[in-house]
């Protein structure tokens, strides 16, 4: 009966979408759902205890700039006419700020559901029309900015190996295309798919999260892996598959301050190149005086690999988390914590495209016991 009640509550939470008497030894080392931020924050990856709702609010600042030795010349994606125009843009910068609302609910002690709702602010600059636009054919500056809800993700999770010291959680998520795909740049043209807030079609995400208390209540390790596949959208654009791996540890450095936890994790992310159903065009060389339109190479609408997409990224994220109820004992701080991470790139291969720079994450977690455990 109570399992049914909790399932219904969980289902309602999942459809509408948009703290505790049963503690686990698992350290709450908090998470983030954005594609550009894959810091593992355990309160997201874990399955909460039955009847426990964990609410994460996460702010993420992610700059993307050209690495040294790259020139940022990439193709243009003309969605309206289904054209892939080689060497037509020179990327300058993208900055994405994301506030993610994440709700994680334990239907039973092993089964949980999660809803992740991102709200993004994105600004982007590139030079458009190489060989064609601008007084010297070096293109013209086209700024873009947009903000809104991104693609919402619903995830079902199951704790397959729960003990007091360890946990292995498998997850399966569906990312629904709630983010816009029709935002326009400052010149009135539809922004290309990679710059839009949404991906335009459903994505499927499989994940595995593992954690083990090496020294109970003092030191634990964790591992997280995920795979995402996105289907082709109505503009003929398909984002490439994405693989993420994170491995790290978190610990309480001083027994006298159990509310403070330090953490460090390594990330590896591999993104397969994107594809597009389009004809193929080529820009004239930049700096030739301008005024030369792109010329057609292949008129066939075929599934083409989008050059300069796909990337490999390896980073280290140090951070800390503070249990607020360990600092201030009050109803307002009960079952809540705040955390901060910096994500520092170690190796980046972005195919001459923009690459993620040092990113920052601030988050706040609060848990609510909605139904009694075990009932």
């Amino acid at each position: 009966m109570m399992v049914g009640k909790r399932f219904l509550l969980g289902l309602i939470l999942g459809v509408v979408s948009t703290s505790f008497s049963w503690f686990s030894l698992q350290a709450a080392h908090a998470a983030c759902g954005s594609v550009t931020c894959f810091v593992v924050v355990g309160s997201q990856q874990q399955v909460p205890q039955a009847g426990l709702l964990t609410f994460n609010t996460i702010y993420n600042y992610t700059p993307m700039r050209l690495p040294d030795g790259t020139n940022g010349v990439i193709p243009a994606i003309d969605q309206a006419d289904r054209r892939l125009i080689l060497d037509h843009h020179r990327e300058i910068r993208t900055i994405t700020q994301t506030v993610t609302f994440d709700l994680n609910y334990g239907i039973t002690d092993r089964l949980g559901i999660q809803v992740t709702i991102p709200y993004l602010w994105r600004t982007h600059k590139h030079l458009d029309g190489l060989g064609e636009a601008g007084p010297t054919g070096n293109g013209e500056l086209v700024p873009f900015r947009d903000n809104g809800v991104g693609d919402v993700t619903f995830t079902g999770k199951y704790n397959i190996l729960p003990t007091l010291r360890s946990m292995i959680v498998t997850g399966f998520g569906v990312q629904v295309p709630t983010g816009t795909t029709t935002a326009r740049d400052d010149h009135g043209g539809i922004m290309e798919s990679p710059g839009q807030l949404g991906r335009g079609h459903v994505g499927l995400i499989g994940s595995l999260y593992q954690t083990y208390e090496l020294i109970p209540q003092r030191l634990n390790q964790f591992f997280y892996g995920s795979y995402r596949h996105t289907f082709r959208n109505n503009d003929g654009y398909q984002f490439g598959d994405e693989y993420n791996l994170s491995l790290g540890a978190s610990g309480v450095p001083l027994a006298s301050t159990p509310w403070l936890m330090l953490t460090g994790q390594f990330h590896w992310r591999y993104m397969v190149h994107d594809n597009m159903n389009a004809s193929l065009w080529q820009s004239a060389p930049a700096g030739n005086g301008g005024g030369v339109d792109p010329f057609e190479i292949d008129p066939l609408f075929a599934n083409r690999r989008v050059p300069n997409t796909g990337s490999t990224y390896f980073a280290f994220s140090p951070g800390f988390q503070m249990s607020l109820d360990g600092i201030i004992d009050s109803p307002l701080t009960k079952m809540s914590s705040a955390y901060f991470y910096a994500q520092l790139p170690i190796m980046r291969d972005s195919n001459n495209n923009l690459a993620q720079g040092t990113s920052y994450i601030f988050g706040f977690t609060r848990s609510f016991q909605l139904t009694q455990t075990g009932s």
Binding site: P162, L164, Q210, F223, Y270, G374
Partner: protein
């Protein structure tokens, strides 16, 4: 770039697979067993108490046993212990015993806590987490009531145990009143 990325991808997938197998194998010994079914015999265990003496569940056959899994860092655990102490004081001569099984902490810390709060029931040290796994414990506190014949009668996850609740359960067990099925709470 294609070949390099494919190789990189294959290496990472292989590393993940090796890691997953290693983790699964390494954790196999510590894998939590299923929660004991009410009405079935409780699995016997043997642990050392704070005085260094070995104690077993079976040595308390003939008494109603409250097996309570706890830790000093677990606030609900420490909150319900006074109720356990009061009930232990009232019923220890009437066929009732409390076995407080501490999880994964060192003796000194536990001894200090017990002394500070004046608890006198037996405290057993589950340093390797094995008994917790036997009883399907992956969160604290958990309280298991076992009757005089060694059969599990109640399994309570979370808290809080109150004095009245403990008295009611013990009375129910000792009077042999029927327990409703699926009484996992």
């Amino acid at each position: 770039m294609n070949r390099k990325n494919n190789y990189s991808q294959a290496v990472m997938v292989l590393l993940v697979a090796i890691f997953a197998v290693a983790v699964s194998g390494g954790l196999a010994w510590s894998m939590g067993s299923r929660v004991p079914v009410v009405g079935t015999p409780a699995e016997d265990f043997r642990l050392v108490d704070l005085e260094g003496k070995q104690q077993s569940l079976s040595q308390y056959r003939g008494k109603v046993v409250l097996v309570n899994f706890w830790a000093t860092w677990c606030k609900p655990c420490t909150t319900e212990m006074p109720a356990m102490q009061t009930t232990y004081d009232k019923l220890r001569d009437k066929g009732f015993v409390v076995l407080a099984i501490n999880e994964l902490e060192d003796d000194a810390k536990v001894r200090e806590h017990i002394k500070q709060h004046g608890h006198t029931f037996p405290v057993l040290m589950d340093r390797e987490n094995k008994v917790a796994n036997q009883f399907g414990v992956f969160g604290l506190p958990v309280s298991v009531f076992i009757d005089e014949k060694g059969v599990v009668q109640e399994y309570i996850k979370g808290g809080l145990l109150t004095e009245q609740l403990i008295l009611d359960v013990v009375a129910k067990i000792q009077k042999r009143e029927p327990i409703k099925a699926a009484s996992l709470r």
